[in-house]
């Protein structure tokens, strides 16, 4: 049973547009939610992360929005650029076993010039 559900599977956005990727979870014990970015031929790399005590975290053009009551979180990429084209994975872990990540199925983002 998949613990973190991610959508959409793929996304095409024009340069300068906003990319939005959504994730949902059921386990209320999750308390750390990172997003990983993977370029072709490379491994996933941490992009940004949030804990549920805040509703939003912003780093440059990347923002995580977190809705604890709905058990959903999303990644927003503002002013999307062709260099942002990659596969994005959301993930979650719980304080009792913070090393064990539960990943979503990934979103392949293509930003058109």
């Amino acid at each position: 049973q998949q613990q973190v559900k991610q959508s959409p599977q793929s996304l095409i956005v024009q340069k300068g547009g906003i990319s939005i990727i959504n994730c949902a979870y059921e386990n209320t014990a999750f308390d750390y939610f990172p997003w990983y970015q993977q370029f072709p031929g490379k491994g996933p790399a941490l992009l940004i992360a949030i804990r549920p005590d805040v509703s939003e975290k912003k780093e440059g053009r990347f923002t995580i929005s977190f809705n604890k009551s709905a058990k959903q979180f999303s990644l927003h990429i503002m002013d999307s650029q062709p260099g942002d084209s990659a596969t994005y994975f959301c993930a979650a872990s719980m304080v009792q076993n913070f090393n064990k990540f539960y990943f979503g199925s990934g979103t392949k983002l293509n930003v058109k010039p």
Binding site: P44, A45, R51, N99, F101, Y102
Partner: protein, 119 residues
């Protein structure tokens, strides 16, 4: 600083054969993880080493999979005998090994993965 390295980058084997994947973590990282991604699906946790000890192997699919971490340095993941459903990308990751800073999660650094195809 060198990142996490994995060898081989690709492996094509026939059903019933044995394959051994290797991972070299970032120097000084006590924690080492193995994950697997079957095509188009989620990245799934397989197991976690702290130094040379298996901390959590709850994600290992079955006893055809054997992971070792010699002397707390590099790790190997052996699949014997390989089955068709073992095909996928096997990722290794490492982390420094401290408790979450300020209660936050610890960053895991991933290798580029080994693409395994079982025919």
């Amino acid at each position: 600083e060198a990142g996490v390295t994995q060898f081989p980058s690709h492996s094509v084997i026939e059903k019933g054969q044995t394959v051994t994947l290797r991972c070299d973590p970032i120097s000084g990282h006590d924690n080492l993880y193995w994950y697997r991604r079957v095509m188009g699906k989620e990245i799934k946790f397989l197991l976690h080493f702290v130094k040379e000890s298996k901390q959590d192997e709850s994600g290992m699919p079955n006893n055809r999979f054997l992971a070792e971490r010699t002397g707390g340095t590099y790790s190997t993941l052996k699949v014997q005998p390989a089955e068709l459903e073992d095909s996928g990308v096997y990722f290794c990751a490492s982390s420094q090994g401290s408790s979450p800073a300020g209660g936050f999660g610890e960053t895991q650094y991933f290798g580029p993965g080994t693409r395994l195809l079982v025919l």
